[in-house]
């Protein structure tokens, strides 16, 4: 795997992880609002 491919994969993993965290937080806030 080239360096560029490695950095791209790590960046994608960071983005998907961040998205998952914020999505769960969003759901949790929705539950608290009910």
């Amino acid at each position: 795997m080239s360096d560029l491919m490695g950095i791209a994969v790590v960046t994608l993993m960071i983005w998907v992880g961040l998205f998952g965290y914020v999505y769960r937080l969003d759901r949790k806030v929705s539950r608290l609002e009910d």
Partner: protein, 224 residues
């Protein structure tokens, strides 16, 4: 599936596509060491979001002073916090670029210096909010501070780095008023700015909702 969920999944896919395009759709730009030019697709949108967030904080602060609606105070504080976060991320990605291009993470370049001042100004905003207990007094003081703080933003972000000689590349917004990026760079950069703006709107909405719940619970405790 609700429309809100579809738009969130859309944001996930959109920014994932931007990441793939940033690494594989565009070529490394000439005049930059290695692949360092690709950082522009993340660094510039982060800086853009910081300015947008500080603008929203200023506008909602003006609205608070006019209407005295506590929700405007919440909006201003959440947006200032997000602006600080994105300004910090822009500084960090800029430092990585500086290390590759100029050999050191920090060079006291006019742009690095001006963003440091900006970070300190908005960190002081959050410190001010933490130092005042009375909610109405806190809201009024921080609204006035946020308006004054935003006055410095155009100077620190757009004017100062162009007055002094800078190491910072000026291919996007430059003193000649031209865009010297090739078309693929422009396409990916605009897509990234759009995606980051969507991310900011989502985080801002969640932040406002959390703060509203926190205030409601605080009020319930006081009422008991």
């Amino acid at each position: 599936m609700r429309v809100a969920d579809i738009s969130k999944i859309g944001l996930l896919v959109w920014l994932a596509a931007v990441i793939v395009a940033a690494f594989f759709y565009v070529h490394a730009a000439e005049g930059f060491i290695g692949e360092s030019s690709r950082i522009v697709f993340f660094h510039v949108p982060m800086a853009w979001i910081a300015v947008l967030a500080f603008l929203v904080s200023c506008v909602t602060s003006v609205m608070y002073l006019r209407r005295r609606d506590p929700r405007d105070d919440i909006r201003a504080s959440v947006s200032a916090g997000l602006g600080l976060l994105f300004a910090f991320l822009a500084t960090t990605t800029g430092a990585v670029f500086a290390k590759i291009m100029w050999g050191a993470y920090w060079n006291w370049d006019p742009r690095q210096t001006s963003i440091t001042i900006l970070l300190l100004i908005y960190a002081a905003y959050l410190a001010l909010r933490g130092a005042v207990d009375d909610p109405e007094r806190r809201a009024s003081l921080s609204a006035v501070y946020a308006i004054l703080a935003f006055v410095t933003v155009p100077f620190l972000v757009f004017v100062v780095p162009r007055i002094y000689w800078s190491l910072h590349p000026d291919t996007i917004i430059n003193t000649r008023g031209t865009n010297e990026f090739d078309s693929r760079y422009t396409q990916v950069l605009l897509a990234s700015v759009l995606g980051f703006t969507g991310l900011y709107v989502w985080l801002y909405t969640i932040g406002c909702r959390i703060e509203a719940i926190r205030q409601r619970r605080r009020q319930e405790v006081l009422d008991v």
